[in-house]
Amino acid sequence: MRGRVAFRGGGFAPRPSPLAGAATLIVLIAFWQTASWAGWLPRLFLPAPREIAIALYRLALSGELWRHLGASLGRLAIGWSLGTVAGLLLGFAVGLFTLACSPGMAVVSAFFPIPKIALVPLFIIWFGIGEGSKIATLALGVFFPTVINTAGAVDNVPRGLIRMGQSFSLSWLSIVRKIVLPGALPGILSGFRVTSSIAIILLVAAEMIGAERGIGAFVLSAGNLYDVDNLLAGIVVLSLLGLIVAWAIGWLERKLLSWRG
């Protein structure tokens, strides 16, 4: 063998670039707009971004957008928070106590695979056609993945660190608060990404069953009228909501997990 030794150790280390992410979306939209202008996409088949933007603008002016969005955001906030708090509590219990471990996981494994949306009629009977049933759908949909994710994150905290805490006779509460909780936090926060998306999907689905207000109800009624501009305007709002939530979680991660460097 003779000659220069070539570098072969690169790759497998993707770096995030928010700019590239935004640029991709913009290029996609521009391409879509161009395709519409060029006449490749018939208007009824798929409206152009410009038409969707106009529809959105009208909705915003008339106040209809805010009415629906407000209702949806309220449900999302309450439902997700309830499911998350309950899920964190049970997840920590499963991760920390033998007594809760197997019973908790058995219940979660039995109920997690049930599509919560199939239970909406039942929730309507239990909690009424109003907000109760929608929030219950959301909360339950968020609850089970949160339990599984939290229990896993707690389980992943290095045992050596916990033994260290015990070797210095830290109290049980100190060990949980200062070792288990921060150790599980990265896993818990990445779980939030999943559960916030689940919450948005379930929210729309729940609003499609017996709601007058909310983005889901709006999208459904636009769809029934084949008002594709408004239909897609609603979808765009949901997509923006998803983007904002993802960004917020990213921000939270940078704040809380700055020690990871």
């Binding site: 660190l161 070797s167 210095f168 100190s174 020690w259």
Partner: protein
């Protein structure tokens, strides 16, 4: 003021693997006891039992002696893998073990400053563990242990994850620290030079199931000892003779768990 430990009739089994058998051992107060033995003979297990982190299958450990009033955690470990919290900076890692005690804030800060100075970490108080070299991380581990003013230090191969040069440097500093503090130490190692450098009592364990094979004494202060002194070299050679066969056999054994 220090404490001594008495281990009596210690047996330990992990499920059906007998790791320790009939260990009777006295750890004299104010001295460094080195536990030496081939890989997998149960040294870490014995250390865990000595400090109450592992419950022995049978037998008991008793501590005797007076503990100074400023001692917050009489039996204190230094870990092989450092066991630092990556989400706390150096000062925070030391503060962790003081926070559960009703110390005035000024006293806590003073203790942190004191142990940072003792271990040469003053400039690193605000550094994250991930930014430190292995040697610096173990300094934090030692600083944290000293912050509680322990009556007995339990060290499990504290320097084995470090390179040879760093290890020699830290070993000398550590020897000076414990010579000054006159704390009881139980020091687990594989390294014969470390054993004769630090040990006043060297306990040689047999291969698994671990039993006490022989106990050597080196009755002179550890301050100022050098590994190339003839009497220490002679002991080192005898230790090697003693455990060589076991080391070869242990090397060929299947390891069951961590």
């Amino acid at each position: 003021m220090t404490i001594g430990l008495t281990l009596s009739g210690i047996d330990h089994r992990y499920r059906d693997l007998t790791v320790l058998e009939g260990i009777d051992l006295t750890i004299p107060p104010g001295e460094v006891t080195v536990l030496l033995g081939p890989s997998g003979c149960g040294k870490s297990t014995l250390l865990g039992i000595a400090g109450g982190l592992i419950e022995p299958t049978s037998g008991s450990v008793t501590a005797e002696g007076d503990v100074a009033p400023d001692c917050l955690n009489p039996l204190t470990y230094v870990f092989q893998d450092f066991a630092l919290l990556p989400w706390r900076d150096v000062a925070g890692n030391i503060s962790l073990v003081l926070e559960d005690h009703p110390l005035p804030r000024a006293e806590r800060t003073a203790r942190i400053q004191e142990v940072l100075a003792l271990t040469g970490l003053v400039d690193f108080a605000a550094a994250w563990p991930r930014q430190l070299s292995g040697g610096m991380r173990q300094r934090v581990g030692i600083a944290r242990a000293l912050a509680v003013r322990p009556a007995c230090l339990l060290l499990d191969e504290p320097f084995s994850a470090l390179d040879a040069q760093t290890r020699d440097l830290l070993l000398d500093e550590f020897a000076a620290l414990i010579a000054r503090a006159a704390t009881t130490c139980v020091y687990v190692t594989h390294n014969l030079a470390e054993a004769v450098r630090l040990g006043q009592q060297i306990v040689v364990l047999s291969r698994r199931p671990g039993r006490v094979r022989e106990i050597f004494r080196i009755d002179r202060p550890i301050a100022g000892r050098r590994t190339d002194e003839p009497d220490l070299l002679a002991i080192e050679a005898r230790l090697w003779e003693l455990i060589r066969g076991d080391a070869v056999a242990a090397e060929r054994e299947i390891h069951h768990a961590g």
